[in-house]
């Protein structure tokens, strides 16, 4: 459909200097009357194709000042005397689907190559690839590798029992999935209960299939019952099977006011296995019940500032005392002459891999993010600041950033991160003390 067509009243007017002058004046004083003539909406633009392809190309440059002498710079870096690291990463994400009738094949592929001061590395992975059947809107089936993002939290999801862990500094990034067989039933109602939806996912762990999920040769069942009840989203979540211990979860989200949303999650794991470092520097495997919670808000102010704040109690995390013991072990290892004895440092490396070195290994965290939409009339520019605080040891990271997406299909993000804390604290012992990152994405 083209608006500048022959039937247009403007086209019926014959050209001529007087008329041109008249039209110019009209356009000057009544721009909205002429606006439609400049634009078209062709049916080709909305034609649906069986095969759909998309994705993005990314180039990312990072500069990091290393936190020399810190626990993680010592444990993870080949050269502990290194002061800076410069990284250049090129990445590509390919999304696509092929639909035929009620069936479709969907995929998401990710590949990246990185060059840094220590050399070159690359990766390529299938994030998702699944076949789905949608008999009608209330029932669908899916088989293959699929990514799950269960839970209402923005930065963390304690009820995301079959989610991959996300990076709170980049919570909107795609994540790799697991191979599952899934059914999704949806039912709508009139009354206080508006929607009920049940998602069941069978997740096997066999040789070469979902091996990193847990103990092999088991078939696990994950279930999520979603209810929209009295304008509140509620999920009841369960994971059963022998690859991981059983887990029970509940989450909710609702608007207390039009511009004020509140959400929360609670997860209970009766027997959570954890490897801990004992006082004599030996390690032991313990099973304890773990209860984790998350409470968050999202608020949009009158001047277009969006605030997200989340408090996370990680019941399966390490206490401050347990973390301190680990930092002491690493510090003792550092004090040893590396030529004569590396026993303590090796033990610290082992414990780092077994849990102490994972992101947010502690018990209590606070996440907050403020973004302001288009300040000073700069369209498509969103500055923001993200803070991540370990409430137990008072260490933190603060990341101001600016995102601009004013050019169609381009996104530019410049971010600076300051990572700070005292000795033997989570952010004080990180491998780097700050980072500057420029990320450019082109979507296609």
């Amino acid at each position: 459909m083209t608006y500048a067509n022959k039937s247009s009243p403007w086209r019926r007017i014959q050209s001529g200097p007087c008329i041109a002058l008249f039209l110019s004046c009209l356009a000057l004083f009544f721009p909205h009357l002429c606006a439609a003539e400049e634009f078209s909406f062709d049916l080709e633009e909305i034609e649906k194709k069986d095969l759909q392809m998309g994705g993005y190309l990314e180039i990312r440059g990072e500069h990091m000042d290393l936190n020399q002498g810190s626990v993680f710079s010592t444990l993870n870096l080949a050269d502990p005397d290194e002061a800076i690291v410069d990284l250049l990463t090129a990445a590509m994400q390919l999304d696509g689907s092929y639909a035929r009738g009620i069936s479709s094949l969907n995929w998401q592929l990710k590949a990246a190559a990185q060059e840094d001061t220590s050399g070159w590395s690359d990766m390529a992975d299938v994030y998702s690839a699944y076949f789905s059947l949608k008999a009608d809107p209330s029932l669908s089936l899916a088989l293959g590798k699929k990514s799950y993002k269960w839970g209402k939290g923005y930065a963390w999801n304690p009820v995301g029992f079959i989610n991959r862990s996300k990076d709170p500094n980049n919570p909107e990034e795609a994540l790799e999935g697991y191979i599952t067989a899934e059914t999704d039933f949806i039912k709508s109602y009139q009354g206080p209960l508006q929607t009920a939806a049940l998602t069941l996912a069978v997740l096997p762990v066999w040789e070469d299939i979902n091996e990193d999920f847990g103990v092999s040769d088991n078939v696990n069942l994950a279930a999520k019952l979603y209810l929209l009840y009295l304008d509140t989203d509620i999920d009841l979540i369960f994971l059963g099977g022998d690859s991981r211990s059983d887990r029970f979860g509940l989450d909710f989200s609702t608007n207390l006011a039009p511009h004020f949303e509140i959400h929360g999650e609670a997860a209970y794991i009766p027997e959570l296995e954890k490897i801990i470092l004992e006082e004599d520097n030996s390690s032991s495997r313990v099973e304890d019940p773990a209860f984790s919670t998350l409470l968050g808000i999202r608020y949009l102010s009158a001047n277009d500032i969006t605030t997200i704040v989340e408090y996370y109690y990680n019941g399966g995390g390490y206490s401050q005392e347990e973390m301190s013991r680990f930092y002491q072990l690493a510090a003792a290892g550092l004090a040893q002459d590396p030529v004569l004895d590396t026993t303590l440092l090796d033990k610290a490396r082992e414990m780092s891999l077994k849990g102490y070195g994972r992101p947010q290994p502690g018990r209590q965290y606070l996440y907050s993010k403020w973004t302001m939409k288009e300040p000073f009339d700069i369209l498509y520019f969103t500055p923001g600041i993200t803070a991540l605080v370990n409430l137990e040891d008072q260490s933190y990271s603060i990341s101001p950033e600016g995102v601009y997406n004013g050019l169609t299909n381009w996104e530019f993000r410049l971010r600076f991160s300051l990572i700070n804390g005292g000795k033997a604290t989570e952010y004080g012992e990180k491998g780097n003390s700050n980072k500057v990152e420029l990320r450019i994405r082109y979507f296609f």
Binding site: M1, Y3, P31, H32, A35, A36, F39, F41, L43, E45, I46, K48, G54, Y56, D95, S104, K134, D136, P137, S138, S140, Y148, K149, W150, Y154, E172, E173, A174, L175, D184, I186, S188, Q194, T195, A197, Y226, L228, D231, D233, T254, N255, P258, H259, E261, H263, R298, L300, K373, E374, D377, L379, Y380, N405, G406, T408, N409, W410, R441, F443, F444
Partner: protein, 250 residues
């Protein structure tokens, strides 16, 4: 009959007439609003829209959306272009709104004044329900060729507290709408134009232009295409279906 008794009767009759005329006047305004809605779109429908944001230097950014609606307050809008926004979907169920971003993989609750695209359009412009569902006519005035309706939001969750709508008497279609905040500040003015026959008896404007004193020299246009009556199952308007909305397109 004594004179003062007669005047009492006159007053009583006048009051009675006023009491009848008052609601009738209000009813007329709401009735006009219903007619406007009926002329603008069927009860359940699908349509395509193109949003165009134009900056003062002439730079343009375009978005194409596929939208389906059923009943009074169930609506989904799916971005089908540009590539950077493709697959984003917004769902509205009454006052509840959610945004689904494919990479994020789960719907997030959003508010009506948040902007999904940037620019002058916000969620409530993209997921606008029928005018008579969101607004009530407070007053009506009549000119030779148009009605002027003053509309008040029925709830505080509606993005604009009140509207001034000009309705063309002949076509019973809106020509312009001024949108005001609670404070009385003019947030934006909408201009409908280019009446087109969409088929099946639907003859309505195909272009909506927005200007805002808050974004001087910026313009936003919404072009409409393939607005057609279609019935959808209620299950389409649920969080679990948001990732599958594209399957509805033929």
């Amino acid at each position: 009959m004594p004179k003062n008794r007669l005047s009492h009767l006159h007053i009583a009759v006048a009051l009675l007439l006023l009491s009848i005329a008052g609601p009738a006047l209000a009813l007329d305004g709401n009735e006009i609003l219903r007619q406007v809605d009926n002329n603008m779109q069927p009860g359940s429908y699908e349509m395509y829209r193109k949003l165009i944001n134009i900056e003062p230097d002439g730079t343009k950014k375009e978005f194409v959306l596929y939208t389906v609606k059923t009943g009074q307050d169930k609506m989904v809008a799916l971005f089908i272009s540009p590539a950077s926004e493709e697959g984003r979907a917004t769902l509205r169920l009454g006052d509840n709104m959610w945004l689904y971003i494919p990479n994020v993989g789960k719907p997030l609750r959003i508010t009506s004044l948040q902007s999904v695209t940037g620019g002058i359009f916000n969620n409530s412009d993209i997921l606008r329900l029928d005018y008579h569902v969101e607004y009530e006519a407070e007053s009506i005035s009549e000119k030779e060729e148009s009605y002027q309706l003053k509309l008040k939001a029925r709830t505080s969750s509606v993005a604009y507290d009140h509207l001034q709508m000009i309705v063309d008497k002949k076509s019973m279609l809106p020509t312009s709408i001024e949108c005001y905040a609670v404070s009385g500040m003019l947030i934006k003015t909408l201009h409908y134009s280019k009446i087109e026959d969409f088929g099946d008896g639907l003859v309505r404007p195909s272009v909506l232009e927005t200007e805002s004193p808050l974004h001087k020299d910026y313009r936003s246009l919404m072009l409409f295409a393939k607005v057609q009556k279609k019935e959808f199952a209620d299950e389409v308007f649920t969080l679990n279906y948001l990732s599958k909305v594209n399957d509805l397109r033929k």
